[in-house]
């Protein structure tokens, strides 16, 4: 039974046994008309959540790209490695194994931020801005990403294409950076990962309910304009419901010549799966 959890607390789940070979959320793949073996390249996908927890989308894309045999750089600022690993196992991927064989490079924000303050650092740390009085840019973090994803000739296995996953960008605003600095970081990552290396980038931004938060609005709108695909998870306007956890709006952008397409579905998060249905068509009410 998957409990409803507030956004900012760590999620406590029971480690379940490894589920089906499919992994990820197959219904979401159908809605997005994609699968691990025919994923598009060179795209930026923006995940955003409002009045609900959209982290199930992060877990989906993490397991999706690991299944697709891509090299993944995961900037995990919100939760610990073991949390993502636990949820990943329910979705059929083992993050520890992926990390050991070089498929997954993970930057654990929670752990490494403590390292900055309590252990001496020789080379520049990706999260160096935490120590700086006036944090101006995320260039060290970008260098970390570029280093992690650049093609290495000596590797035995060749991965399909590189993927950058960030959970999440709003945390960087809370840590004192300006929206333009975070947008610049996203710009450089997009230029390197999507354009130069023909890989994909997925980032989560929280849509704060606070209308006064201009910086978050700027970050969200700025990234929306750069994205090819936007997935917006929203809580229901009427409040909490046991059978419908929220609504997912899918917006395809930048399809040259065609009008941008959008779909809206409602969803329910279960223990190892998320089921999607058209608005008002939840099995509980039919």
């Amino acid at each position: 039974m998957c409990p409803r959890h507030p956004r900012h607390l760590p999620i406590f789940t029971h480690p379940g046994r490894s589920v089906s070979e499919l992994g990820m959320f197959p219904e979401l793949n159908n809605l997005l008309n994609t699968s691990p073996d025919r994923a598009e390249q060179g795209k930026l996908t923006l995940l955003c959540d409002s009045k609900t927890d959209g982290s199930f989308l992060v877990h989906h894309f993490l397991s999706f790209y690991l299944k697709a045999n891509c090299k993944v750089c995961f900037v995990a600022l919100l939760q610990s490695f073991s949390h993502y690993n636990t949820v990943g196992q329910k979705l059929g991927v083992n993050l520890t194994t992926a990390r050991e064989r070089g498929q997954l490079v993970i930057l654990e924000g929670l752990k490494s931020s403590a390292d900055i303050f309590f252990h001496p650092q020789e080379e520049p740390h990706p999260l160096r801005f935490l120590r700086e009085t006036s944090a101006e840019s995320l260039q060290p973090l970008y260098e970390f990403v570029r280093e992690a994803l650049k093609p290495v000739d000596s590797e035995d296995t060749t991965w399909r294409f590189p993927v950058l996953l960030v959970d999440d960008l709003s945390v960087l605003l809370s840590l004192g950076l300006g929206a333009v600095a975070v947008l610049d970081f996203a710009h450089y990552c997009r230029a390197t990962v999507c354009s130069e290396l023909q890989g994909n980038m997925v980032a989560l931004v929280h849509d704060s309910e606070d209308a006064e938060d201009g910086e978050n609005e700027l970050l969200l709108n700025g990234l929306s304009h750069q994205s090819h695909l936007i997935l917006q998870a929203e809580g229901l306007a009427t409040g909490f419901c046991k059978d419908v956890h929220g609504q997912l709006k899918i917006l395809w952008r930048k399809s040259t010549g065609r009008r941008d397409r959008s779909l809206i579905y409602q969803y329910k998060i279960q223990d190892k799966n998320v089921s999607f249905f058209a608005k008002g068509m939840s099995p509980a009410v039919l």
Partner: protein, 272 residues
């Protein structure tokens, strides 16, 4: 319609939103300019050169000169590829004193507005489109047109207003076909390039089964009604001009119809 947009020199602002992207319109205008024999310079900040050139035929692409501010605009790679003057220098370098007509497409003004002070950007745009005020610089001989893409959600009213005052164009409803030709449709004319759909204002009281409107007599009766706890003029006068011997505070109570004032002490029968 494209001809009318391109006939005016100066700054043409294309304002778009997340739901209605404007890059296709920018590319349509670029294609039209290129096909009419002009040289087109593109200052690209938001998309790569390959992505911008996508969809253009070779004759358009050959007339298109792409100035790359996308790969390394802030000189983070330190390879020396970035423009020495930064984004502002790159924008100023677009100033041309050639004799032919040129079109400068800026993709996007929003990116520049986030990284440069608004005043400097406006001044540079004005010089680019009108070609004066730089001392010692010759004005351009040919006609210069600047097309700027602007994402309107990213900026406040101040910068938007400043840029709008520099521009002078009208717009019409349109749709963009896959090969970047424009298909003109009948529709309302607005003061900015704003391809957003407008919801017509609907009066919610028109189709109700009950009456929400007041007749003249009802309205008068409503206005003349004194509310039960209204501060009446008698009370007001008494408070403003306290009479002699009224130094302590008084309670002014106006009983209404339903009050039952009983002067007896209700606790009289208590044996304390």
């Amino acid at each position: 319609m494209l001809e009318s947009l391109l006939a005016i020199g100066g700054l043409v602002l294309l304002r778009d939103s997340v739901e209605w992207e404007g890059r296709s319109l920018l590319k349509a205008l670029v294609k039209k300019s290129a096909l009419s024999g002009e040289q087109v310079h593109v200052l690209g900040c938001e998309v790569s050169e390959e992505e911008f050139r996508e969809g253009f035929e070779s004759d358009v692409n050959s007339r298109l000169i792409y100035h790359d501010l996308f790969r390394d605009p802030l000189n983070w790679s330190k390879t020396g590829e970035a423009h020495p003057g930064g984004p502002l220098g790159a924008l100023r370098a677009m100033y041309r004193t050639d004799s032919c007509s040129i079109t400068i497409a800026v993709d996007s003004l929003s990116w520049l507005l986030l990284h440069l002070p608004c005043t400097e950007l406006c001044q540079t745009l004005h010089v680019l489109s009108h070609g004066n005020s730089y001392p010692g610089v010759n004005p351009p001989v040919g006609e210069v047109r600047v097309l700027g893409l602007l994402h309107e959600e990213l900026h406040g009213q101040g910068p938007l207003g400043a840029l709008s005052s520099l521009a002078q164009t009208e717009t019409q409803w349109f749709s963009i076909l896959p090969d970047f030709n424009l298909d003109l449709q009948e529709g309302p004319v607005e003061s900015q390039q704003q391809p957003s759909s407008h919801v017509p204002l609907v009066d919610p009281t028109t189709h109700l089964t009950f009456n929400l409107h007041l007749s003249k007599k009802e309205r008068e009766a409503k206005d003349n009604l004194t509310l039960p706890f209204q501060f009446s003029s008698e009370k007001q006068q008494a408070l403003l001009r306290p009479g002699p011997g009224q130094s302590s505070s008084h309670i002014f109570y106006e009983p209404d119809v339903y009050d039952d004032l009983d002067q007896e002490d209700p606790d009289e029968d208590l044996d304390i």
